[in-house]
């Protein structure tokens, strides 16, 4: 918790901490984790703060003649320049390609010191999303939804046969049969609520088995 003293031999201050009078304190509500002598606080809540290379799901909020303004669930709106899309767009022709309310898969291209952000769609798999459903989870829970080496999300995909994409900004896109989408959403909500309890994987698995009637996830 903010203000808690983080004690330990030879510890160095990592993310979510601060130093005062030569001692390390927590700056966030979160879970302590020590990695190669750095003590970090992994947050339990909080808004998404963009970092270069993050995959995010964004929503077109406004259109200019040579760019789109993308809302990425962070305090900072992110422009997408016409040079950063996979199509050749003439000046003033932006609305023909994407309109307000459209949802895209993008990558954070640049973040400067004053948190000016730019996103790009020029990378493999980045594109405009169509159909399916979007849900939002706390960005701090994204690692849990994905699981160790993607184990959790693969399990959900396997049982529900949904296509799922998890943005680092807490937005999740799912596509598949209507009922499957609802089951996958329910499973993700279970993870979000119980993110830090033991036996979570088993609980989610039991739920998915029950609703899918499958005893094991389908593998590709």
């Amino acid at each position: 918790m903010p203000g808690d003293l983080l004690e330990g031999e030879k510890l160095k201050p990592g993310a979510g901490t601060y130093v005062s009078d030569g001692k390390i304190f927590a700056a966030l509500l979160g879970i302590k984790s020590v990695k190669s002598n750095y003590v970090n606080i992994i947050p339990l809540s909080g808004r998404y703060i963009p970092a270069v290379g993050d995959s995010v799901i964004g929503k077109v909020e406004d259109i200019g003649p040579s760019n789109w303004l993308i809302e990425i669930n962070s305090p900072y709106p992110a422009p997408l320049h016409v040079n950063e899309v996979p199509w050749r767009v003439e000046f003033g022709d932006t609305a023909r390609y994407m309109n307000v309310g459209d949802v895209i898969l993008a990558k954070v291209l640049m973040v400067d010191e004053t948190m000016r952000v730019q996103v790009t769609m020029k990378d493999q798999g980045l594109r405009k999303l169509q159909g399916g459903q979007i849900i939002e989870v706390s960005p701090s829970k994204v690692p849990r939804v994905i699981g160790k080496s993607g184990s959790m999300i693969q399990m959900i995909k396997g049982y529900t046969n949904c296509r799922i994409f998890v943005g680092q900004n807490g937005r999740i896109w799912l596509d598949g049969e209507v009922d499957s989408i609802m089951h996958a959403i329910k499973a993700i909500q279970m993870i979000e609520q119980d993110a830090h309890s033991h036996g979570l994987t088993e609980k989610v698995k039991a739920y998915l088995e029950q609703v899918s009637g499958q005893s094991a996830p389908r593998t590709e």
């Binding site: 903010p2 304190f25 984790s33 339990l44 809540s45 010191e113 296509r163």
Partner: protein
């Protein structure tokens, strides 16, 4: 102090106050974190007969634009009393008192928040007094700092606050409504227990230097107690579903291959 006089004895011969407390005793204090769905962070405080809600939105884009600071976030607090929170209906909307309180609470919170992490952004804190019974600014600030932590905002520490006052010529901790109305002095303070840093202080009425020292002594102890209740609220918020926070160190994989 309103300077009203009364025939009521605020403290009896045994040193007991009209609500049964000793001079250095707090009213019952209950805090709950994460009580609102829409807000990024929130807290509810019941302190004696005070009922206060605080919500945090942000960091978010700062409007109007000219308020933006390119180097750091600004903390904007709005303290408001509901019309039926007091005995005579209060007209909705800000008055001079609530604007002043909003300002000093914003300033106290800005000190603990690492605002430099969020240039140009705004962190908005809303304090709504649902039911008032003396000490609402302290209850509001106490709730607001819990709501900030709940919102995942990086900060140096939580900020507990309490009012000390003087009734029937004696220094008393945590004034109730009668003591506030008929007492001789009121001294709300907010202090970080670990560092002793004072982030909010106001005073009105009449105190000797010795009485002030006594008041600070009470205040220091009480802030520590309030602080413990704040931490307990945050702990309960995140351990409700089992899990003792001792999880293995999973890292976010950029695993987004589609099936």
């Amino acid at each position: 102090m309103s300077g009203m006089t009364t025939d009521i004895d605020l403290i009896d011969d045994n040193g007991i106050r009209i609500d049964g407390r000793k001079v250095d005793e707090l009213r019952p204090l209950k805090i709950e974190a994460g009580v609102l769905k829409r807000a990024d962070g929130s807290a509810y405080v019941e302190w004696g007969k005070n009922k206060v809600l605080a919500a945090v939105y942000g960091p978010r884009e700062c409007h109007p634009r000219h308020m933006q600071n390119p180097a750091k976030a600004i903390v904007q607090c709005k303290y408001n009393m509901l019309s039926f929170s007091v005995s005579d209906r209060k007209r909705p909307g800000p008055d001079r008192r609530s604007i002043e309180i909003s300002k000093i609470i914003s300033e106290a919170l800005e000190y603990v928040v690492f605002t430099e992490n969020y240039p140009r952004a705004s962190i908005d804190v809303y304090i709504e007094v649902l039911q008032a019974n003396a000490g609402t600014r302290c209850a509001g600030l106490t709730a607001a700092s819990v709501a900030l932590a709940d919102a995942g905002i990086p900060m140096k520490d939580l900020v507990p606050a309490v009012a000390i006052g003087k009734a029937d010529g004696q220094i008393v901790l945590d004034l109730n409504k009668e003591e506030d109305n008929y007492g001789n002095a009121d001294l709300p303070i907010a202090m970080i227990p670990r560092t002793g840093e004072v982030l909010l202080m106001q005073m009105d009425g009449h105190m000797t230097m010795e009485e002030f020292d006594q008041a600070l002594e009470y205040g220091k102890k009480a802030c520590q107690m309030v602080y413990d209740v704040q931490k307990d609220a945050l702990r309960r918020r995140y351990t409700v579903q089992g899990g003792n926070g001792d999880v293995d160190d999973e890292q976010s994989q950029n695993n987004n291959s589609e099936a």
